[in-house]
Amino acid sequence: MITGPALLLALMEGAVGAAVLALTALGLSLVFGVMRVINIAHGEFVMLGAIIVWWCSAELLGAHPALGFLLALVMAPVVVGLIAMAADWLVLRRINYDPERTIVATMGLLYVIQQSVLMTYGPDARPIEPPVYFRIQLPWFGYSGYKLIVIALALLLLGITWLILSKSRIGLYMRATRLDAETAQAFGVPVRRVYASVFALGAMLAAVSGVLIAPIQQAHYLMGADPLLLSFIVVIVGGLGNLRGTLLAAALIGIGEGMIAVLFSPTLAKMIATLLVALVLIARPGGLMRESAP
């Protein structure tokens, strides 16, 4: 029997998942939309974000968890952004961003990152203390204040990303390059530098979402698989490279997945999400929000 409070709890859990998923999927969608690169290593950037929280956390620095968390919130995007730029420079650029070869190349990147973390951080899943401990007391249950902070921070970061894309020069260049890279060059856009920035921005979004979920889940070197799968589902359902569609799909799938996981079982949630992709691909091959060919 599903009661009102249980439904509310499920909805809140779903909202947390949706907010974090939106960040991760937006990164994947940007990279695919602008560069036509399917980044198999995207989930590893999420994992790196979570691992960096652990390094910055109290165990290591002996500081208050909130301080370590704030430090990680700054360090993770910087470090992971730099790693992404290096990968762009060392690998993607050398194979000329060829759509097929980049799949294999980013798969290689996935293993390199995973193994490096395994060798340095180890195979354990380590819990991370949330930076704050307050609870919101509702009439039926208490709810973690940290999770509400996660939603707020994710929305803030989505807003900032949206502003960068819609108002700034680099954002205009990214959108123009997505639509027509050759013509963008003819208007002075350094397309390769744009690609490097997009790849870094996509990785930074993933890293930040890794930071946000670390205190909710645990930090583990294999934790990148789930966000990768879910982001792919979101990006496909939202219409490849379509940013508005990505956000809408992240909200739907994140909330739906969270609710089914709480009310029934996490496995059922994944099954339904995957089934949804198949249905969308059959009914609307261009994605939910089809405004133009990809």
Partner: protein
């Protein structure tokens, strides 16, 4: 203003342009004509650096630019109106113009004189470029290029797919630019339009300039036109 000397360029291993040489003076309109696949678009793309040059020299205002990466070319004063318009279709009209302005970090207000040439665009600034009519899209493609304040303007078949009246208006506006000293390279398939507004015409076949003549000479004696593009009139 623009000087090509024995320029060759290739798509991969296939050499398309073979030793092309010509000059274009300030205020001049030079027409480029030839059959489909003759290499007209390739000439423009090679000048923009979008296709790698194999050999030869390319100068604008006496400065050698053949070694520049493509994104550095427009700031040297060359603007491009591609075949098929190639607008950023999901960006607004204003954003498309901004792409031109940003080439020289020009402020938004620098779009005003360009919008005076095509006032209809002023009413469409917030609209996505892809939703404009064909004629408006071509005007926007020209306007976007003019926002870079070019010394040399490259136009690739601006009349393609438009009604003659619309083409006429756009070409007349372009022709006015010569008064301000802009040099214009115009690929044009319509013989009548080309002869009307060009000063000189290059006839291209298989990536080679086969014939070069004043427009008035071709009007008087259309034999080369028949030979290289198969039209009379």
């Amino acid at each position: 203003m623009l000087e090509l000397t024995r320029i060759s360029s290739a798509y991969g291993a296939v050499e398309v342009l073979k030793e092309i040489s010509f000059t274009l003076a300030a205020g001049e309109i030079l027409g480029v004509m030839g059959r489909n696949g003759a290499g007209k678009t390739t000439i423009l793309k090679t000048i923009m650096g979008l296709i790698p040059k194999r050999r030869g020299s390319l100068k604008i205002a006496a400065e050698e630019i053949s070694h520049l990466p493509p994104h550095a070319v427009p700031a040297r004063g060359i603007a491009y109106v591609p075949q098929g318009r190639r607008l950023f279709s999901e960006l607004t009209v204003a954003e498309n113009l901004r792409m031109g302005l940003l080439v020289n970090n020009a402020p938004q207000s620098d779009a005003e004189p360009v919008l005076d040439l095509f006032p209809i665009l002023r009413e469409r600034l917030a609209q996505a470029a892809g939703t404009l009519s064909g004629g408006e899209q071509q005007m926007l493609a020209v306007a976007r290029a003019l926002c870079t304040k070019p010394k040399v303007l490259l136009l690739d078949e601006p009349s393609e797919g438009l009604f003659p009246a619309v083409t006429h208006r756009i070409l007349d506006t372009v022709a006015q630019l010569r008064q301000s000293g802009v040099a214009i390279l115009l690929v044009e398939q319509q013989v009548k339009s080309a002869l009307r507004i060009c000063d000189r015409i290059l006839l291209i076949e298989n990536g080679v300039i086969q014939h070069e003549a004043k427009a008035s000479e071709l009007a008087a004696n259309p034999v080369p036109l028949e030979r290289y593009i198969g039209v009379h009139r």
